[in-house]
């Protein structure tokens, strides 16, 4: 019995020790629990939320772009696309085959869809086709019972109802590229998101884009959405209103479309509001949104009429005789009397070179007003030699040539107004008198854009104010846009007397019996326009050609024909609008460009009287309102 007692005692002691050890280890578990659930609770709670909550971005609707009267230029339309969910479609290839029968275009990339479906999780919708027509959508709806897992989704995509006619000003939107991924905006990483790539769309992109909303969804371990927890609506993009008058813009585009390649600007002479700005041919901005094929893109790039370039601000042309406005003003400022006479024999000799007038047999005796009216080159050769290139250049600069303005779209060229210093610095040789002579008729080094020519004309006719053009009344402030204050332009520094004389001369260009643009005078009984024609040579006329008789433009190949230019304003007695028209290789300014300018100014005047109160009813800033997209 005794050994049993010892055994029992040993057992009891050791059993107690064992249980004590077990309790200690349990206490350790309790401590660990305390550590995880109390001390580290916050940390793990955060991790748990990270696990379970996915943030999904909600793309805000892009802000509309409106014209000065609130007409839509860029809107959003519903874009129907068909998606398929693998886990709901019983047989994916069979479903796709059936879809292919229903959709008219055989546009389903079956391999791509199957590959995507393979890669994604079974509940993720895979886009099968986009931009469905209404007919396709309704056929799909009818067939829906036979198409398990097929759904129609609606998204918003940018649409430009006017197509090519506003393309250069508005620009376009396109998919985000690698180099656009610089900002912190998470929207940029949203698949299928579009951003402004040129024009107004690019300049005001941040404001138009709006702010992303988000939806917090609860997901499980494999990423399936269980429910939406919270939703924060984004801020829709802000509307941007332009100074353009869409009616005038369309007329301008239609008018220019009759020529192969042309550009025109119609502007309010006092405010600088650009009412129409067209470069022709245009391109279809909607194509960029949908995505251009490589061939289409190369085609646009190679087109000799350069449809992608906004020639109104980036086309550099020798201004030709339109530059005589600047020379005439410079002459008056330099003290050349109005009555200064020159006899035009059709040519002038300087050293051993002969400078010709466009009129072979000469104009005879000419004073300033006559010379402008009939565009006599000899008078300007003579005067330019008297005042020198630098004085001409100074006046040209005061008129807005040779520099760019902040017009909200990029790509504007500054042109070139040569001076002695410029030539020494840029070319390295000294200025020649012959160059002054050529510059006086807007040839040689002188280059300007149609917009600059419009500004030049505006500064002349608006009372001498240094007006600058603008396309919007907004100003970008950080991420938002704010109204620009109504501009107050300083005086450009042109004598009132000389302005009046040149305006009178430009009146005669159109309305005088011997004016170069007589055939283009306004038909209306009350109002008249003034202007100046220009025909700029694309290449120098050789001696041989001149002796054999200068060929008519019509006889030359298109590329060698002269550019036709015209700058004009109306009404002539109280100028309101200015227009500048350049028709590339169009031939004579009086014959080709002037009628276009006439038509544009006529329309501008008509629209002005049609719209009661002009621009007063244009809200400078339209509050951002989410518009129901027009289908």
């Amino acid at each position: 019995m005794k050994p049993d007692k010892t055994r029992e005692k040993v057992f009891s002691r050791r059993a107690a020790i064992l249980l004590g050890g077990q309790m200690t280890l349990f206490a350790g578990l309790g401590a660990r629990m305390y550590y995880l659930q109390v001390l580290q609770a916050e940390h793990y709670r955060t991790l748990a939320e990270d696990n379970r909550i996915n943030l999904r971005l909600l793309a805000p609707p892009r802000g509309y772009i409106l014209d000065r009267f609130g007409e839509p230029i860029a809107i959003n339309v519903q874009n129907y696309r068909v998606v398929v969910i693998r886990e709901q479609a019983k047989e994916l290839p069979a479903t796709l085959a059936r879809l292919e029968e229903i959709l008219e275009t055989g546009s389903i990339d079956t391999l791509r869809v199957l590959r995507d479906a393979e890669r994604r999780r079974a509940f993720v919708p895979i886009t099968v086709a986009e931009n469905l027509s209404w007919g396709e959508v309704s056929r799909l709806e009818v067939n829906a019972p036979n198409l398990p897992g097929v759904q129609i989704e609606v998204g918003l995509s940018r649409f430009y109802p006017l197509g090519p006619s506003v393309a250069h000003v508005i620009g376009y939107v396109a998919a985000v590229s690698e180099k656009d991924l610089t900002g912190r905006d998470p929207l940029l990483e949203l698949p299928g998101f579009r951003i402004g790539k040129s024009g107004i769309e690019k300049r005001y992109d941040t404001a138009l884009r709006g702010k992303a909303g988000n939806s917090q969804v609860e997901v499980n371990a494999v990423g399936r959405v269980i429910r939406e927890l919270r939703r924060k609506e984004g801020e829709p993009g802000r509307e941007v209103s332009l100074t353009l008058d869409i009616g005038l813009q369309i007329v301008t585009a239609e008018r220019l479309a009759q020529e192969k390649s042309a550009a025109a600007v119609v502007m309010d002479a006092h405010r600088g509001d650009v009412l129409a700005m067209v470069s022709s041919p245009g391109f279809n901005p909607n194509a960029f949104n949908e995505g251009l094929s490589g061939d289409e893109w190369r085609g646009l790039l190679r087109d000799p009429h350069a449809p992608l370039i906004n020639k109104a601000i980036a086309g550099l042309y020798a201004p030709g005789s339109t530059f005589k406005i600047a020379v005439a003003l410079a002459a008056l400022e330099a003290g050349i009397p109005v009555g200064h006479n020159t006899y035009c024999r059709g040519y002038m000799t300087l050293g051993n070179r002969r400078f010709h007038c466009w009129k072979k047999h000469g104009h005879g005796r000419m004073a300033l007003v006559d010379a402008v009216r009939e565009s006599c080159d000899i008078w300007f050769y003579d005067v330019s030699l008297k005042i020198g290139i630098d004085k001409i250049a100074a006046m040209a600069r005061r008129l807005g040539l040779g520099s760019t303005y902040d017009i909200d779209i990029s790509g504007a060229k500054s042109g070139l107004i040569p001076t002695r210093d410029w030539k020494r610095a840029a070319i390295g040789s000294s200025w020649q008198k012959g160059e002054t002579v050529i510059a006086a008729i807007g040839q040689g080094y002188v280059l300007a854009t149609p917009l600059q020519l419009a500004v030049m004309t505006a500064r002349l006719v608006n009372g001498g104010f240094a007006v600058t053009p603008r396309l919007t009344r907004h100003r970008i402030e950080a991420d938002a846009i704010a109204p620009k204050p109504e501009p107050e332009f300083p005086l450009a520094g042109i004598l009132e007397s000389s302005r009046k004389i040149v305006i009178q001369a430009m009146d005669q260009v159109v309305n005088h019996a011997r004016g170069t643009a007589r055939r283009s005078r306004l038909k209306g009984p009350d109002v008249a326009m003034g202007g100046k024609t220009g025909t700029s040579q694309v290449r120098r006329i050789s001696m041989a050609e001149r002796e054999g008789g200068v060929r008519k433009n019509a006889e030359k190949p298109w590329r060698e024909r002269d550019h036709a230019l015209f700058v004009g304003f109306a009404p002539v007695d109280a100028p309101q609008y200015v227009a500048a028209v350049v028709v590339e290789h169009g031939g004579g300014g009086s014959k080709v460009a002037a009628p276009i300018a006439r038509d544009l100014l006529e329309h501008a005047l008509q629209r002005n009287s049609a719209r009661d109160g002009d621009t007063k009813d244009v809200a400078a800033i339209t509050a951002p309102t989410a518009r129901a997209p027009k289908p």
Binding site: F11, L19, A41, Y44
Partner: protein, 380 residues
Amino acid sequence: MIRTRDSSDMGFARKFWQVNWALVLLITAIASIGFAMLYSAANGNISPWASKQMVVFSAGLVMLLVIAVIDIRFWLRYAYVFYALTLGLLVYVEFFGTEINHAQRWIKIGQQFQLQPSEFMKITLIMVLARYFHRMNIEDIARPHFLIVPLLLIAAPVLLIQRQPDLGTALFLVITGGAMFFLAGVRIWKFVVVLTAGAAALPIAWPFLLDYQKDRILTFLSSDVDPLKEGYHIMQSKIALGSGGLFGRGFMEGTQSHLKFLPERQTDFIFTMLAEEFGLVGGLGLLGLYALLLLYGLSIALRSQNQFGRLLAMGVVVVFFLYAFINIAMVMGLIPVVGLPLPLISFGGTAMITVLAGFGFLICVSVHRHVRVSRHGEGG
């Protein structure tokens, strides 16, 4: 020798009244927590887990009572037989077992049930060791050659189970056997020698481990290494558990468990789910109930009048403790991932049956605490 209150002659009805009903109640209470958790794990459905678990538990409870009222001398007498039968099953598994997750551990019975003989071995091993040490004097135990037989009794199943391969259960049996040695009175210095030798042998054993076993140990050592493989389970378990906080997210409100971030939420990781839904309070509560069970077991062991009963009772306590401790320590990232269920709670038949059988023996010891048993199994 005056036999007072000797239960050897008690009828089954009287024995029935001797059963520790408080203990049975405690067991049922813990199992009920399990039903609730399984109900939650199935997103508020009684099927597939809770209902099946209730059936298994009911059957197990009947078995528990049967074991409890059978004379303890019967168990003593046939201890070697039971051990041999279980060992036979292990050998059977070695050749004909069903492979699940690359481990041969299962015997399929019909379509519905699978048995894991290694689980049963946990009970039969303590039985056979209790049987062996029952006839040993304290002086015998001091002699090293008397330890050869029990060492072989442990080694045979351990090697078979290690071959399945199931390192966790093998270690479980080693620890259980060690505890039995300790309770039987084996000198402390012998444990020290064996542990030291074992530690020295670890680097030698390493190359013999299988890749997944190495992975688990490595994962445990740095759980951030590969968050999508083994470490992922532990990380997600810690997130779920930690995010439960003091009071938990509420019954059926555990986001991590219900959104399937938590793996195996109905079996090995059910404690995590409980702690996520009921917080520290719930976790400590369950730990407290377990501790109560262990104390109950200790008191039964101490009151037993025979060495077999004492050792058997304490063996059950050790097995139960190991289940609970290893599982909870694992889900909290304290030890490597071992596929071991939470006793009485995790879904799974074999473990439930094993644990309930264990408690059956515990109550049997209690019922027969006054039975004096001779060294050879006959009543004294």
